[in-house]
Amino acid sequence: MTLFLLSAGLTIIFGLMKIVNLAHGSLYMIGAYIGLSIWTISTSFWLALILAPLFTALIGYLLYQVLFRHIQIADPMRQVLLTFGLIYIGLDSVRLFWGTMSHSISAPNILSNSIIVLGESYPSYRLFVIFIGILIAALLYIFLEKTKIGAKVRASVDDPEMAKLLRIDTDKILIYMFALGCGLAGLAGITVAPILGVEPGMDMEVLVLTLIVVVVGGPGSLKGALIGSLLIGFVDSYGKVYIPEIAQIIIYAVMAVTLLLKPNGLYGR
């Protein structure tokens, strides 16, 4: 489900700006670290859960204002390399501020035991993560499909020029959606922190997986991100259990097959 939060953010940004943000993993890591700091100071996981995504969104907002707004017309290579530079900066600033040690956040007491689901005992925090994923998916769906702002966003994705003619402020929409996408990465970071811990290098682990999900699902499609993350997540986990030697390769094989059959991804436009 974290995969979904990450790829939803990335796919939103891609859909609007046609930019692949390689620094998305860095934002995920920074979200986790900010959550860690808030958790250490206030000892409240819930506060961290709410504030970390907000701060990450703020960072995204600043990044957009300073950098991304200037490279919208550049060729894809420059856009990608700019975000590549951001990875370096993200990794080193995390090392500077928080050190190279790996940390862990413990889940709040209510969620630290296991519940019995369908006869199997299951850690309740993981259920909570799944719940958050579904909640965000539902909220995003309602926001994008049922509200007026959502309609404007979709209009800006489909045809930015026409949207501008209809006096939709596409720039403003871009800024806020970019921040939203970054915030989702931060949310993913903090929700996953109690399970996987917080350490430098966690950005690289998820980045490629997220990119694959976005490519498989169809860039710019939220539904694609959901289905794609479920597909890749299951293939990855089952692969690791049953055929560990080639588990890693299977994910890429899934992607290759998808691209050969449907070059625009499962739900590509």
């Binding site: 046609k18 930019i19 692949v20 950098l67 200037h70 490279i71 550049a74 060729d75 894809p76 290579m77 420059r78 856009q79 990608v80 390399l81 700019l82 590549f84 530079g85 951001l86 990875i87 370096y88 900066i89 990794l91 080193d92 600033s93 090392r95 500077l96 490629v208 990119l211 694959i212 490519v215 860039p219 030697e245 080639i246 890693q248 390769i249 890429y252 094989a253 992607m255 290759a256 691209l259 050969l260 070059p263």
Partner: protein, 330 residues
């Protein structure tokens, strides 16, 4: 999508400046080889090899209009096939390099047949994924040493000529020779009708198709040549270090290669060599002084991408123009 959006920009076509810059670079490399110590010679050899890699990316980006974030895969193919040829099959290192070039070309041909139809950001993502797939494979493969890598790779033995390849001085010269050879081959191709067609393809592939060029075939040719060149770089790299680790195939290696060609100026071949040298020296010098050198390098990357359209090549071209103008006035 509109083809205009995917258009790659390359520097002005200027073979004379390209040759001059190349001569300056090679001469300064030779000077540092002659007067430098053990480590300088090792560094020069490494820079020469990285330059070969950068040139392969440069050729692909400028001539094919394709940006690959998975090119480290070919570095890895060259490196691993050389390793297997030398250690498991007992083939001499020089022939192993040639064979790995052929393997790289063949795999490049195979892959490009499927992926050159994609453009822009999709091509970047697919090459990234392919490269990571290869990385994941070598990382877990027992045969290829897994995450530990393989060591004990030897260099070509030419002791019958009275030369010892294990001397860093000799190997630096050997690497420079390869670099120069590849520089001249790529320059030849760029200046040939094929190269002109490739440039036309990058600038406007629809128009090229309209006047009877086979866009897809040209792209495949560019990708194949480029992957072969990258394989040579990989093959030399393992001979230099004597060991191989899967880190060589990580996608960030390709990313750094692309930064090198942006620093040097895309499409200028010798600019790629300059860019590789600058980026490599910068990384090494900074990491000696400051522990957070990556932060600075990242910032510099961003500044270069934002503000230096034609990289250092552009600067040199401007300076040269100004100098020539000054001469004419007198």
């Amino acid at each position: 999508m509109d083809y205009m959006e995917d258009k790659m920009k390359a520097v002005n076509y200027n073979p004379r400046l390209r040759l001059h810059l190349f001569i300056v670079l090679v001469v300064s490399a030779l000077i540092s080889i002659f007067f430098g110590g053990y480590f300088t010679r090792f560094f020069i050899a490494e820079i020469a090899i990285l330059s070969i890699f950068a040139m392969s990316l440069d050729f692909l980006a400028a001539r094919g209009g394709l940006v690959s974030l998975g090119h480290a895969m070919f570095l890895g193919i060259g490196a691993y096939s050389t390793t297997i040829f030398i250690l498991n099959l007992g083939i001499s290192p020089f022939i192993a390099t040639i064979l790995s070039l052929l393997i790289g070309c063949f795999i490049g041909l195979l892959i490009s047949y499927f992926i050159v139809v994609l453009n822009g950001i999709f091509f970047i993502m697919v090459t990234l994924a392919l490269g990571e797939m290869f990385h994941a494979w070598v990382f877990t493969s027992e045969l290829l040493g897994g995450s530990d890598g393989i060591s004990g790779i030897i260099r070509p033995d030419i002791s019958f000529m009275g030369i010892d390849m294990n001397d860093p001085f000799i190997f630096a010269i050997y690497s420079l020779l390869w670099m120069s050879l590849i520089y001249f081959i790529l320059s030849r191709i760029t200046d040939s009708p094929l190269g002109r067609n490739l440039d036309a393809l990058r600038q406007n592939h629809m128009r090229l198709s309209a006047i009877g060029g086979y866009a897809k075939v040209y792209k495949i040719i560019a990708f194949t040549i480029s992957s072969g060149v990258a394989s040579i770089a990989g093959s030399l790299y393992v001979q230099l270090n004597g060991f191989i680790s899967p880190e060589l195939t990580h996608w960030t290696v390709s990313g750094e290669g692309l930064i090198m060609i942006i620093v040097g100026g895309i499409g200028s071949i010798s600019g790629a060599i300059l860019g590789a040298s600058v980026v490599y020296i910068l990384q090494h010098e900074l990491s000696n002084f400051i522990s957070w050198w990556m932060l600075i390098v990242g910032l510099l990357f961003i500044l270069v991408v934002l503000f230096m359209q034609d990289g250092l090549w552009g600067l040199i071209e401007k300076l040269r123009l100004r100098l020539l103008k000054g001469k004419n006035k007198i």
